[in-house]
């Protein structure tokens, strides 16, 4: 698996241009999308949504028929909040426009972790009507079940504009499952999503996001996270379905001692998909971080980035990126970056891009598995990132997402 493939023609083939980027960035024309969309009615009982819509939501981990095992639910279709409800005391779930109105102090959190002038997408988000979820868990409250949210696009050609805010107060704990997806007949669209997460002293947030877009969708999330002393942020990102272009690069600042951030990504790119996915961690205190990504291409392009900056002594971080190229096409560019600005930081990385080692396939075949069965076992293992501290229910959700994609790979 870790054997790096080398091109036989590398020595003889002249470079076309020194300035040519290895994987050209994909531009998204904002003019091609509309922000005009009709309002969808509020659903007091989300189980009354259509079976097709419910199935799409279920595929990204959002269950609406029985929400007994959820601490809260937020459902947004296009630009309408069609359901939002908290089921546990100390947990708040509502749309961000409503929250900003209810709590004027939220201005201390709004656009504080993402710069509205960062690029044209943040500018767009800042200047157009938005929705999004506000989820807050009160000090010392440990949410028993996860809060789930679904960002759903139903209208063709829509630019969905979302601005989310999550606040985990001191000593509180919360799991969030976010599923982003489109209606079954959905064709083309853009999702712009600003997310700002605040994890206060001793707080813990496990954030699991499953993306399940469509082959002609453009997706531009922009995310900032701040983690205070002793705070924990576990981020699990799963994107296994085709998407035209997706670019995300959340930045986590660890500002307090003993803060911990862990980013796990599981990515798959079919032909026609372009994923530019990474995580950036700034260790501004004696804290720890880990970035782990698994990328499989069956014909698409994946840029797997990771940036870690150790800015105080004894800051510790590890970055790991492994990529598998299955089939003849496909392109993976792994860019692990480490920066140390003082002595005493402890940062490391490992990256490997290649194909499945023949020796591993033969090993399984010697146990009686066919070649296809052997490859399936190896791929399933490759994608099953060990996620420490993840509730079994979330693990099951991720396993389900991986299993749904397995057949497509084979």
């Amino acid at each position: 698996m870790s054997k790096v493939m080398q091109s036989k023609t590398a020595k003889t083939k002249p470079l076309k241009s020194k300035a040519q980027p290895a994987t050209p960035a994909i531009d998204v024309d904002l003019q091609a999308y509309t922000s005009e969309v009709e309002e969808h009615p509020y659903q007091k009982d989300p189980s009354r949504l259509s079976a097709a819509d419910k199935q799409r939501m279920h595929d990204v981990g959002v269950v609406v028929d029985d929400t007994a095992q959820r601490a809260g639910t937020y459902l947004q279709v296009d630009q309408s909040v069609i359901h939002s409800k908290a089921e546990q005391e100390g947990v708040e779930v509502m749309g961000t426009p409503q929250a900003l109105e209810k709590y004027p102090w939220l201005s201390d959190y709004w656009w504080k972790l993402v710069n509205p002038e960062a690029d044209k997408f943040t500018q767009y988000a800042n200047t157009h009507p938005f929705k999004g979820y506000f989820i807050r868990v009160a000090p010392k409250v440990k949410a028993t079940y996860p809060v789930q949210s679904c960002l759903y696009i139903a209208k063709h050609g829509l630019a969905q504009n979302v601005h989310n805010l999550v606040i985990v107060e001191e000593g509180a704990e919360l799991n969030i499952i976010t599923g982003c997806t489109v209606a079954p007949v959905k064709d083309e669209g853009l999702h712009v999503g600003i997310s700002e997460f605040f994890i206060k002293k001793g707080g813990k947030l496990t954030f699991t996001m499953i993306h399940n877009w469509a082959p002609r969708m453009a997706v531009r999330p922009r995310t900032g996270i701040v983690i205070e002393e002793g705070g924990v942020f576990l981020n699990n990102y799963i994107c296994l379905k085709p998407v035209r272009t997706l670019q995300t690069y959340p930045t986590a600042r660890l500002v307090g001692r003993n803060a911990l951030a862990r980013f796990n990504s599981v990515l798959m790119a079919a032909e026609g998909s372009h994923l530019d996915v990474g995580s950036r961690v700034l260790l501004e205190a004696k804290a720890r971080a880990e970035i782990i990504s698994r990328a499989i291409t069956t014909g698409g392009t994946i840029i797997a980035r990771g940036f870690m900056s150790g800015q105080v002594a004894d800051a510790k971080g590890h970055l790991e990126c492994r990529g598998l190229i299955l089939g003849k096409k496909g392109n993976i560019l792994a860019i692990p970056e480490l920066e140390g600005t003082v002595a005493g930081v402890d940062l490391s990385h490992e990256a490997a891009v290649g194909k499945i080692a023949e020796e591993e396939i033969e090993y399984l075949m010697a146990r009686g598995l066919t070649r296809d069965e052997s490859v399936a076992v190896i791929i399933r293992g490759f994608l099953s990132v060990d996620i420490e501290g993840l509730p079994p229910e979330l693990s099951a959700q991720i396993r389900q997402a991986v299993e749904l994609s397995e057949q497509e790979v084979m």
Binding site: M1, R322, E360, Y363, A366, R371, V377, R380, G381, F382
Partner: protein, 243 residues
């Protein structure tokens, strides 16, 4: 059970084995001695059918069928199993999943846990296959897989190398189970065992032995007598003795 007839094997451009003939009967265990680089592992790999081991002459008969050109998995499904000396690490795949694959649907309840307990590997079930395993753990992992797989013909490539004194009897017991060495009459399992040191012979009661030297077979006979000869005269003694 197994008949190897005049087998010649190449790896890359290099001929490793020349005209090897040997047979293993039902219920019998044959020991292969020989120095490093003598071709022992190559013979096992060629019988297993790994593609890098190219049979250029001769044939391999298993239960009366010519399997010389069958793929690895077909041979495995016909009842051949192998303990690899240096198996690959498979990142991400858990020991438990590997054993499940070896069981081929014969998993009943806690079969995997019982097996792991027996191999003293219960705490390895959720670890990645062979990742960070010690020499002895690799052998026990391989033996667990073979016991799950239940092959009729078992090839063991140095099952005793790297195994400490505490675990050697455990490994010996697992091999005896695999080869049904505790049965006299109704034994159906056969084995082909490579050993360098002969340590494993204290635990398994092998029937016959031969010495593989410079790509050919030089000596056949009683395992303990041959081992004693090698210990006193070295492998060179085998070559001289045969002349």
């Amino acid at each position: 059970m197994l008949e190897v007839e005049e087998l010649t094997v190449k790896v890359g451009n290099k001929q490793i084995l020349h005209d090897i003939s040997l047979s293993v009967d039902i219920g019998e265990t044959l020991v292969l001695f020989g120095p490093n680089g003598g071709g022992k592992s190559t013979l096992l790999m060629a019988i297993m059918g790994l593609p890098r081991y190219d049979v250029t002459h001769g044939r391999i008969m298993f239960k009366g069928e010519d399997i010389t050109h069958l793929p690895v998995d077909e041979r495995s499904r016909r009842g051949i199993g192998i303990l690899f000396q240096r198996p690959p690490v498979i990142r991400g795949v858990k020991m438990r999943d590997m054993l499940r694959a070896c069981l081929h649907g014969r998993e009943d309840g806690d079969a995997i846990d019982r097996l792991a307990q027996k191999a003293n590997m219960a705490d390895h079930l959720d670890r990645e296959v062979n990742y960070g395993f010690s020499g002895g753990e690799v052998k026990r992992s391989e033996l667990m897989q073979l016991i799950a797989q239940q092959p009729e013909f078992v090839m063991l490539d140095e099952p005793d190398s790297g195994v400490d004194l505490v675990n050697i009897s455990l490994v010996g017991n697992m091999i005896n189970e695999l080869l049904e060495r505790d049965r006299m009459r109704s034994r159906t399992k056969s084995g082909l065992v490579i050993t360098h040191t002969g340590h494993i012979l204290d635990y398994i009661d092998a029937d016959r032995a031969c010495v593989l030297l410079n790509g050919g077979i030089w000596c056949r006979g009683n395992p303990r007598e041959i081992l004693a000869g090698i210990k006193s005269h070295g492998y060179e003694g085998c070559a001289v003795c045969q002349k």
